[in-house]
């Protein structure tokens, strides 16, 4: 009861404490804490099989947890009813588009489920499908089907929107348009939980990012400072007189460059100063989590997960495990 009022007070849309979930003997989620503030875009990153989908499906009420407290918009998804469903939006990617309806008929049909829906035409317009409103959903291209998925997720004016890898298969232009839509939704005050494989997408959209690996959150923060990114050493490189490339990692790049400038007395040839990209940080975090995992040996599939992380086939196997009820 006290937790409940706390949630209302600090305006959290999602509050998760010590969430755990296993499939048979395999621990998919091993103690996750999350807090998503109302109105923010929160990105959940992690390799396949890390527990991302399981976590999101528990928040969506599609899966039951083994342990922990979960609060989504003030309610426990495992027990929430229609009124709660009316306040969330879920963007699912389906293998097929569904029954033989036109885009407009489909969006109109879903709008009828909600108490205060957007006008169906508006939802279609927001995802840029107006030209296809009269087309059968089975005739849409892959990217258009994804946009329809999004239209169906937002037609009910959700307070909280779940987006699971929404731009997979989009061309670069469609992705940019989609990003604009997400920014517009955030501008309206919609809270968004985004999972994605694209780090540039997370960086462009997210107010905060959490990285999940081997069933745990290994880092959390805003895109600029995640995993100590802001404090990380800068890399200064230049063309050394012998023709080789010289590189120094330093926390005081200005000092290094001043020294170099004095040494060269003119332009420093081929000078670059780089900070680690979000992708560098992410890959380091995942690698550290995985090696730490196998050292501790506290998971029976920790070793295989570690070994499999660069192997496409086994990674698929891993994510299949995650799908098992």
């Amino acid at each position: 009861m006290r937790a409940q009022t706390e949630v209302m007070d600090n305006g959290a849309a999602v509050m998760v404490r010590d969430l755990r979930k296993s499939y048979r003997d395999v621990a998919a989620v091993r103690g996750i804490d999350l807090e998503i503030t109302r109105g923010e875009v929160f990105a959940l990153l992690g390799p396949n099989g890390a527990g991302k989908t399981t976590t999101v499906e528990i928040l969506e009420g599609f899966r039951h947890r083994d342990q922990g407290t979960v609060d989504v918009l003030g309610q426990d998804p495992a027990r929430a009813g229609r009124a709660w469903r009316a306040r969330i939006g879920i963007v699912l990617q389906l293998a097929s588009a569904g029954p033989e309806l036109t885009v407009l008929e489909m969006v109109r049909h879903f709008a009828a489920f909600y108490p205060r829906p957007r006008p169906p035409e508006e939802a279609i317009d927001l995802v840029g499908l107006t030209a296809k409103a009269q087309s059968r959903v089975s005739k849409l291209s892959g990217g258009q089907t994804r946009r329809l998925d999004v239209a169906l997720g937002i037609v009910g004016r959700p307070e909280l929107l779940f987006l699971d890898e929404p731009t997979t298969g989009f061309d670069p232009e469609a992705r940019r348009q989609f990003w604009e839509l997400i920014r517009a939704l955030r501008g309206d005050g919609t809270t968004i939980l985004l999972t994605t494989h694209y780090l540039d997408e997370a960086e462009a959209l997210a107010d905060r990012i959490a990285v999940i690996a081997a069933g745990r959150i290994v880092a959390e923060g805003d895109p600029e400072t995640l995993g100590g990114r802001a404090a990380a050493a800068a890399r200064v490189s230049w063309d050394a007189p012998g023709g080789d490339r010289a590189t120094v990692e330093t926390s005081t790049p200005t000092q290094v460059i001043t020294g170099l400038a004095a040494q060269f007395g003119e332009e420093i040839p081929g000078l670059t100063v780089t900070r680690p990209t979000l992708e560098d940080i992410y890959l380091d975090l995942i690698a550290a989590a995985e090696s730490g995992d196998s050292r501790n040996g506290d998971s029976r599939n920790g070793d295989s997960r570690n070994g499999d992380s660069r192997n496409g086939d086994s990674r698929n196997g891993d994510s299949r495990n995650e799908e098992q009820p």
């Binding site: 009124a83 569904g98 029954p99 049909h109 009910g156 307070e159 309206d188 005050g189 919609t190």
Partner: protein, 296 residues
């Protein structure tokens, strides 16, 4: 630096708006009521019927196959007299009406729901505030429309080609009504339960159609029941179709044809009992097995 500050301010504004909207929606929640179950059931039914008739393959399969089989069987064997002034064509028509009811209820529902589950459509619906009752109401509407149409079609074919006479006594129409309703209900529930058997959308049609075809052979639909070996009759009598076919024969054949039945009578009481038992068993099976998500 200024850009960061502007961004932070914009985010702060968005959060304020979100809080404001949350307060507003808390107030609105009591006013903006969830749409009613009956209205959504009707909406689901409309979509089910509309999309069924747009799916040419489904229409050809459901409304094409039973009449074609009736014409084939009737043309090959139809004009032989079975006995007691009954033609084999009449026997086939009565049996095929029962088979038609099971095809539009059991077969179509089992394949349709299995496909909807395996393609994620059921998961998508269950992620919305649609009440679960509305989904099943939609299926009821769809099954009713198709089953009535199928039955009328088969009756017309029987009357045109195989001397099927529509009954004149009200008692026979009453029998027709309860055999139709109980049979369709039992087969629908069985179909919803059977939809959990196929493990993929691609396997749904063969997995459901194979046992259904066997059942039609041993229940007196494709072959007159008197010709079916005894041990097959015993198996058939555990399932609803044999009893539905028997009920339909009692409606459309002359009274003396009851002598052709294995029991020597129409056994109306037993037909009703078996169908009601299947409805009860079907409800329990559905409640225990129905899932909104694929297992794979």
């Amino acid at each position: 630096m200024t850009e960061r500050a502007t961004l932070a301010r914009a985010r702060g504004r968005a959060r304020d708006r979100a809080r404001g909207r949350a307060d507003a929606s808390a107030g609105l929640a009591s006013e903006a009521k969830l749409p009613g179950q009956w209205r959504l059931g009707a909406a689901r039914g409309g979509v089910e019927v509309k999309t069924f008739f747009r799916d040419r393959m489904a229409v050809a399969f459901v409304f094409g196959l039973p009449p074609i089989l009736l014409v084939l069987l009737g043309s090959i064997f139809g004009h032989q007299a079975a006995a007691q002034g009954v033609t084999v064509g009449q026997l086939f028509t009565a049996g095929m009406i029962a088979g038609g009811i099971m095809s539009t209820s059991f077969q179509y529902l089992a394949i349709g729901i299995a496909t909807e589950r395996e393609t994620g459509w059921l998961k998508r619906l269950s992620g919305t505030p649609m009440p679960h009752s509305a989904y099943f109401a939609g299926k009821v509407v769809q099954v009713m429309v198709c089953t009535v149409a199928e039955t009328a079609l088969l009756m017309a074919v029987g009357m045109l080609f195989y001397h099927l006479r529509l009954p004149t006594e009200p008692a026979r129409w009453w029998t027709f009504a309860w055999v139709f309703v109980l049979g369709a209900a039992a087969c629908s529930l069985l179909g919803i339960a059977a939809s959990s058997v196929p493990r993929s959308a691609a396997s749904a049609t063969p997995v459901i159609t194979l046992p259904f075809t066997v059942l039609q052979f041993i229940s007196g639909v494709y072959v007159p029941f008197v010709v079916v070996p005894h041990w097959m009759r015993v198996i058939a009598s555990f399932f609803p179709l044999k009893w539905m076919a028997q009920g339909m024969r009692s409606v459309f054949l002359p009274g003396q044809a009851a002598a052709l039945e294995p029991a020597g009578s129409w056994e109306h009481g037993r037909i009703a009992l078996v169908l009601v038992a299947w409805i009860a068993a079907g409800l329990v099976l559905c409640a225990k097995t129905f899932r909104w998500q694929s297992r794979s």
